[in-house]
Symmetry: C2
Subunit: 376 residues, 2 copies
Amino acid sequence: MTAFSYQLQATQNNARAGLLQTPHGPVHTPVFMPVGTHSAVRTLTWPQVSDTGAEIVLSNSYHLYLRPGHELVEKAGGLHHWMNWHKPILTDSGGFQVFSLAKHRDITPEGVYFKDVVDGKKHFMGPKESMRIQNALGADIIMAFDECPPGAVDYDYAKKSLEMTHRWLEICFAHHARQDQALFPIVQGSVYEDLRVKSVDFVSQFDAVGFAIGGVSVGETKMQMNQVVSFTAPLMPANKPRYLMGVGTPEDLLEGIRHGIDMFDCVMPTRVARHGSYFTPTGKKIIRNAEHKEAFSPLVDDCACYTCQNHTRAYLRHIFRMGETTAATLLSIHNIYTLVQLAKDARAHIIAGTFEDFYQQRMALMGLTPSLLSAP
Amino acid sequence: MTAFSYQLQATQNNARAGLLQTPHGPVHTPVFMPVGTHSAVRTLTWPQVSDTGAEIVLSNSYHLYLRPGHELVEKAGGLHHWMNWHKPILTDSGGFQVFSLAKHRDITPEGVYFKDVVDGKKHFMGPKESMRIQNALGADIIMAFDECPPGAVDYDYAKKSLEMTHRWLEICFAHHARQDQALFPIVQGSVYEDLRVKSVDFVSQFDAVGFAIGGVSVGETKMQMNQVVSFTAPLMPANKPRYLMGVGTPEDLLEGIRHGIDMFDCVMPTRVARHGSYFTPTGKKIIRNAEHKEAFSPLVDDCACYTCQNHTRAYLRHIFRMGETTAATLLSIHNIYTLVQLAKDARAHIIAGTFEDFYQQRMALMGLTPSLLSAP
């Protein structure tokens, strides 16, 4: 895996700034990764994604396996050529969707039988299959196939699930066939500290480029999630990037970075944009609201995103109300830019040694109580 | 109206190449104008519209009057600032939509009472109101308020309607209040040659920057439309641009240009894109079709549009089938580019004296019989 390297460049308490090199270019961490579920980021073209400052995007193996099929993407020359994004890509394993979206699941020691909710067809996916699919897709970073139990799972289930996830991880490494792709193990263990510790110990045995924390933001409370992250992240190998899967909001990024997380992804910025919500330093706002009717100023003053540089809230409100999907595009650009830029700002503050002030200030602006966990 | 000028640069038979100067820049004719009904071109941002090569766009006074209201657009500094498009804009008068979309119409000599289909509220619009609205919106080119009867209208109705439209034209010129906007009269008269001749005679009295043909593509046959255009266009002032309203398809552009039309607009390229259709030199095709499943080549070979330069039919088919609006964006870019470029190609051929060959060749590629009307 010579194409990959990670350099830890600066730390402030648990917060870290780093540089991950991949075959398709650098990723400066902390980083937010926009999601293109079906190999497209909703309502955006790739130049629009790139213009947000995004350095790496995520796509979903489960969806691509079912449609258009990983063989077709492979025939196209892999995911970078298929979707025409030539910077780094990360694919998830399919595990999360198999467990959360598919119907009639039947879990075996080798993997999971499931039915496609679209056409009812039966499929099987396990660690071997996930590796074959992700090797075919050809993303720079691929993820171990794991079980991701819901947030409210009991201890016994979490323990057994974790043991299976660990067995599957060995199978993943045995079947992962490409040196130009980095396989990230995933720490599971639900909300149970001893299981998380055990999981970190287990996955750390593998000589991986980076490691992930899974099984968060799956139904547990925010407090539980922050607790898991705060005690798990510092245990993970310091010289490797740490990816917190499926997270999150601006406040989640701030918390995660503070606890030592380097990589984040979430569909939320584009999803809420399609429903007319946008991020501001003081929290989410709704573009439909009458307060914006004659607002000839941007979504956020001083925001450097394309949308804020070019359009007023009055115009965005109008075209959103008229059902123009251009409004969803423009709000998505702003929301993704906001998260990408938040991670970049955090990075700059970590390097400057001012991250804790930045964190306190941003949380206060949102009217949120700074976490008491792992205070500096 | 010193900000405007029109120079007829070349002709081949009835076909014309010209240059229209407006306060917001030049328009090289023949030209296709994309439509942004609600002050946004469906699924596109303005840089995407601009990248198609579009020099001028159209927006609809009826829609903008109802929502967000012309006063709000005026407060924003006019339509150019409102929507952040700083090249030429044309607004229609609202007449077409009042007659085609609104409910419970009551036509009086001063204008039309109608109900907004969205909220049922009663409104009145006549030539005075249309001028006030269009002056407030501030487009470079504004249109006379006319009645646009459906294609199947009888002679007596067409005659009476035309007389009213001519009276309204005088009111429009009397109330048009801005020298930086060019008011285009509209030739009506349905499918009746004597009425069209009468209308050309009447509107030509006005010292206008340009003239339009209305009342086409409203339910009459293609043959009837081509007949109207072929006998009407050559009668119109030769030293002024001629705008064929609401037209059209690639073949309509070729026919219209051949008969001496300089300007076109239509919502069709973006509308069919949202339904998955795209233009090719041999006709419209459907991206969903199985033939594109493994097609790792562009929509149209050698097409220089963003979509064809960056994406394959296989990818576009997949994301369209997944319901990604990015597919509508990419097909809209291609379709608008195709019409804009078709007009540019026609212009180059007119200047080179090769338009008739170009016309014959393009019609043959589409499998269409070239019109026998006004053969060279």
